[in-house]
Symmetry: none
Subunit: 494 residues, 2 copies
Amino acid sequence: MLLKLEPGGPLPVYRQIQDRIAQLVDEGSLGAGAHLPATRVLAEQLGVNRSTVYRAYQELWSQGYLEARPGSYSTVRARRRAAAPAPGRTEAQFDWAAVISPAAQAAHDGTRRLARPGARGPEPGVVDFASLAADSALCPVDELTRSMRRVLARRGRELLGYGDPAGYRPLRETLARRMRVHGVSVTADEILITNGAQQGLDLAVQLLAGPRRAIVTESPTYALALPLFRLRQVAVRGVPMRPDGLDLEALERLLSRQRPALLYTIPNFHNPTGITTSQAHRERLLALCEARRLPIVEDGFEEELKYFGKAVLPIKSMDHGGLVIYLGTLSKVVFAGLRIGWMAAPRECVARLAAIQRAGSLSGNTLVQAAVDDFYGAGSYERYLRRVHRVYRARMQALLAGLAEHLPARGVEWTRPAGGYTAWIRVPDQPAAREAALVDAARREGVLVTAGSLFFPEGADGLCLRISVSGTAEPHIAEGCRRLGRALAGVLGR
Amino acid sequence: MLLKLEPGGPLPVYRQIQDRIAQLVDEGSLGAGAHLPATRVLAEQLGVNRSTVYRAYQELWSQGYLEARPGSYSTVRARRRAAAPAPGRTEAQFDWAAVISPAAQAAHDGTRRLARPGARGPEPGVVDFASLAADSALCPVDELTRSMRRVLARRGRELLGYGDPAGYRPLRETLARRMRVHGVSVTADEILITNGAQQGLDLAVQLLAGPRRAIVTESPTYALALPLFRLRQVAVRGVPMRPDGLDLEALERLLSRQRPALLYTIPNFHNPTGITTSQAHRERLLALCEARRLPIVEDGFEEELKYFGKAVLPIKSMDHGGLVIYLGTLSKVVFAGLRIGWMAAPRECVARLAAIQRAGSLSGNTLVQAAVDDFYGAGSYERYLRRVHRVYRARMQALLAGLAEHLPARGVEWTRPAGGYTAWIRVPDQPAAREAALVDAARREGVLVTAGSLFFPEGADGLCLRISVSGTAEPHIAEGCRRLGRALAGVLGR
């Protein structure tokens, strides 16, 4: 058998062997029942390690090219018609653009502009104030590995089957207990486990709003909520954020004219602005929504990332009338990739949310839910949280100090968050249109920031940026602020 | 109800209807609990299109004027007029029933009757022909544990962060290679990883169909597809199943009258009937859909569970025009709880499906996807599949032998599946209404079966049952058939 290898090529050698043999089978040069050379023989012939050939054969076998006989991968298997990837299709292609739903297209257009968290790290030497994801360098991989091993050993068989669409019961109990720590009195029956807070928001919208209904958000708000709202074809009414939270008078005026399906609010470390509302603001907001019979969807995505000052309890903790649906998530603290979020809501909502979840994906990932429950139960979560609190508090302090030192003194405002990862910079007397130039100037200076206009349901109010400390170690933060200050000064001519 | 319309007036007709009814409610002429005429009736009375009345009713629902009951917007709701904010907070509980969307309520009502796979095992001594989930007794927990440990050790930090919404790239490559074994020519870019095939179906519906669009299914079809279609507010047109697959002439007649958004079909080991269509049937179906420009969603949920006879390639393998979206899943083979499914579809679809996925839950579970990829790569999947093939083939043989021996000879039909887990029993000359008595009689005899009517989008065609061998070891199958035979004989008096 003649195989040409490219030792310095882009593909590993085993893969080259594998692909070449697959090709010979696909094109019929090697028919069913043909014998491949023994690994030793082919290895000598090609001048490669025997384990390299072994690996290639193993891959071929796992793809169904070779007969699977213990100890031998040497016989080409009788295959159904083998399909090679079509190089160029000749027949008339179906016109998908003509049939794709407007909602799906809107979701596509709406997400395209938004960076994917953790999609790719910045170049070396660049300060990343753009990504908003718990720092993977702090990730407690070993503790999770131990939790995973324990649950697989104890209950693996059961955890690998279909689970309860509302989530793994012991984790629901654990999360209900954690909610009680934040003053929210719920039982496990009032907890639904979701694929992150994003799915929680989606479920809440599906529960309460149909196409053409309106929902109310803060303006600015969480950027990735906007394509979700477009996917669900709901109209978004933005209520301006003030330094103390959403403008309650503006909300009241809006509610006197319209009857929206829900209010989506982020009272703690608001994304993007970093603003936390006061107890008094939360009480007034709740009273207003109760009077107007407007359900509240409270996004507590960074509830446990408070660094400074007195804790303010979630709106849900004051919710005696039961009109608040609370969204929680592990993702902004740790293990974003495990997609563990939850909703705390009245039982009748949870039953319907679980039904939507079941209709859409049968059940969640029980194994992962059990591993996370073990992680909480073993105290690993608490230990981790204490550790990262110190780290992120120091980063936020460095950021606030850096902004004060390096940002132009005149006409530039920024928020002073008491927790979370993000702060918000605003130049009120400049148009949002200059934002692209500013983001570019920052990139040229070596600091990545996020354009503020992405967060507004309608137009942006002034020239805005979001900056995040989640991806940058404390020693680099001052330098990031210096670069950002230079970029701002350059663009503003100040 | 007397409504005066101004056909040439400034307001659209639906809006005139809506406003007039709202006024009647507001002034008290229509009180809580009053019934509005059916849309058809009012449309005739007013001389307008039925969809116009439907739209008016939907708007009234969204404003809180009407009760939200699935399939009906006909009852005036008890309302509390929106008033100025109350001075003191009311302790009255929020009325969720008044605000939950009809779609969410329909999903809730639609899933409630359906047993959850693996929700609870039967009593000891009872034969379980009801559950449809890979037998957990065969689950290769140790191999998965090894895969999980390997990927956590090698890339844990990265795998625990946010991932690509389209799925973990190496697994997409692995699945593309596996699709090629089934004659489907796709690259990794044409694979999207989903939370099981259920989410794949949901994404396909969201991609192609909006509220009030129609979709076509086999009748009977997969029971849990029906609440999903109700959640997405699409209308379902069932095309009868014949012994050789869906009735192509009936489909053709349907397509000459309507232009549905998609066809949902299960060509292999159809759920519930167990029927596999021939190559010729698949070719005719594809040609028909190509001519009518109707996208096909092909559910290959048990593609790799063929036990007898010659393999028939998926419709997707013949899809040169690119109008087939293929749904695959691991769940019916192994690890249902890991929620690993995939879609194979043209690249432009995958991009939009990934956007919907991202808008709804940011990303999938990267760690689990990597562990499953390792499980494939290590050959564990192939080894497991060979092992369970022998087991399930023997079960299906036992079932077919048991049915032939124990079912009443006269007037009872059943299918002879070449793979998968389910067979379908039908008594054509008996009404579906006797089904509850039959399921009860079977339970009293000590065998669990699934009522056939659950699988029909419209009414059931005769007295039908689904039976599944996935949860019952081979030695008990004959006894299950004996009990079922007794139950049938008792109910039918044969």
